[in-house]
Point group: C2
């Protein structure tokens, strides 16, 4: 079998696992798949195209002969090993926040800015989950009528915080049905039957790191340095798929009818909007799907040229693993990676 | 015991039950309490100050000698019986949407516009839950610096849809822990582990009725006919207490420091905002409390004189039952009701 030597770093995590599934589903040309994780998971076996692959501990020799390495093991692991992978000759597609804002690192959502990928790209950053689904929707609109300002409030699923966070919601829900208590470990407070207006740590100025990521990454991807964007990121007791309530003001002519037409013909977007039948995207329906789903497209009568959208996407797939694999596919398409 | 003859209409519902508790807690001067509900609940006994009171079926004679009737049995029940109650000599405080937008009906949140109450007030409307907590916060800010525009996204608890909706979330969560299915009845789709961007029915123009209520009621209460407000109302799998992500633009000088000072000294508001310790209001903590809680007070750097707030309040209490009883207390204070 001809193909690439691919490494998945963080293979046992929620995103890593999804990366393996997506490489399979999309028949990505894999000759050898190497799975890496922390010592704790060493020896575990994961299935890929019917064979069992043993998870190895990540070390300095892990990237010999690797063509492309998909990293999703947290920023500190990326900071430690991405350069080693590059020096070993691999191209790194990194799902962590480690390199996203580095000026020489492309931050790529293929539908939006695959033009940033070129033969010099050795580390390519995958944007944050909540940013990806937002820019997929903003970009085609911004191309037709320039965006003046965005106000977004998110409803983010626990899977964005990894497998442990999924387990934590599970435990808390089971405890609650037995009127027992289950203390928070991965979240700052109980997540079951609650809303946490905090994702990641707080920064100077009062935004969380998640909110600042959304602002900075959106600006970088849309190549609009000072794009005004206000974000409030909230964790909700949903297992998977992030939802976003998005209010967008445009400099010139825009309305819901026009936005619907643009979104309908845009790549990677599915409009799901038939309010007469209570049809709109919801996290439980969108989980497992590839596109970014948009509904509740309506004029905001409070301001000229302003619309509201409800945007839902599978944060483990388009928000992370799928986007990373799509970047690898782009690299193949541009012959930056060659089989 | 001297006091008023009080009727609670819809006594067996989630809000009605809370009304009875709040009349007790606040030692509202009740001489006789009459509890009314639909035929289904006739004969049920509910406790008030240690005595059991039998729930009666509502009919045309229910309001004889009643001084004040608290209605929370849905708009159609209010439309049918509020005038009968008034003709019997009672003052009606109505928690339904039936009369809220009638020009001769005061729509009252006591901290905001108790000046609307006068001796001619025979029907007084209690605003919608999501509106009450919003205007309590907007009003003191608006008095210092006029509000130019508001963008709000809500995270609303199931209790806002009544006891049946609470039971539905319970059933769906239990079914899920057993990997069984439990179909939606009160909501258009599954609410457990999901977000529903629909509360109430859809209207011309694409807003839901809940969203339009928020726009229209806020304008009426703040006496600002064209106040620009965009609302996206979302149901989340939380049992009780609504959360709101609120972005507010002001015409003139405003910032987070100033807003914090104003909110700190305003009636009915508790500022809970210490991000260094991950302190902010959350629905599980605010349930059972009386005030409107505000946290995440921060400057929105995307626009001049603009701030973000996170506002949480118990929708059954301040959002409904407590506000209704506070209106009755105002009527007493103004001698419109007399013991």
């Amino acid at each position: 079998m001809s193909g690439l030597k691919v490494a998945v770093v963080g293979a046992t995590g929620a995103v890593g696992n999804e990366m393996i599934r997506i490489l399979e589903e999309r028949d990505f040309p894999v000759d050898q798949l190497h799975l890496y994780a922390s010592q704790r998971s060493e020896g575990k076996k994961l299935e890929f195209h019917g064979s069992k692959i043993t998870v190895k501990k990540l070390d300095n020799d892990s990237f010999k002969d690797i063509d492309v390495a998909l990293f999703s093991a947290g920023a500190s692991r990326s900071l430690e090993f991405a350069q080693i992978a590059v020096q070993s000759g691999a191209i790194v597609i990194d799902n962590s926040s480690a390199f996203r804002m580095e000026s020489n690192v492309p931050l790529v959502v293929p539908e939006v800015n695959s033009h940033c990928l070129n033969s010099k790209s050795r580390i390519i950053a995958n944007p944050n989950c909540s940013t990806i689904q937002l820019v997929v929707v903003l970009n085609p609109l911004n191309k037709i009528s320039r965006i003046k300002r965005i106000v977004v409030s998110t409803y983010q699923a626990v899977s964005g915080a990894g497998q442990k966070a999924i387990d934590e919601l599970n435990l808390q829900v089971k405890a609650k049905t037995k009127s027992e208590e289950s203390l928070p470990e991965n979240f700052p407070h109980q997540i079951a039957f609650n809303c946490l207006p905090q994702i990641d740590v707080f920064l100077e100025g009062g935004n969380t790191k998640e909110e600042l990521k959304m602002i900075n990454e959106t600006r970088k991807i849309l190549e609009s340095d000072n794009l005004p964007l206000s974000a409030t990121c909230v964790r909700v007791p949903v297992y998977n798929s992030h939802s976003e309530s998005v209010n967008i003001e445009f400099y010139e002519d825009m309305n819901s009818k026009k936005a619907r037409e643009i979104l309908n013909r845009s790549e990677g977007i599915e409009v799901l909007d038939d309010i007469k039948k209570s049809v709109y995207p919801m996290p439980i329906d969108i989980s497992g799907k590839d596109d970014v789903y948009v509904g509740r497209i309506r004029d905001d009568d409070s301001l000229l040229n302003t619309i509201n959208l409800w945007v839902v996407s599978d944060n483990l797939r388009k928000g992370a693993a799928l986007n990373a694999v799509q970047i690898a596919e782009c690299l193949l398409g541009k012959n930056i990676l060659e089989v």
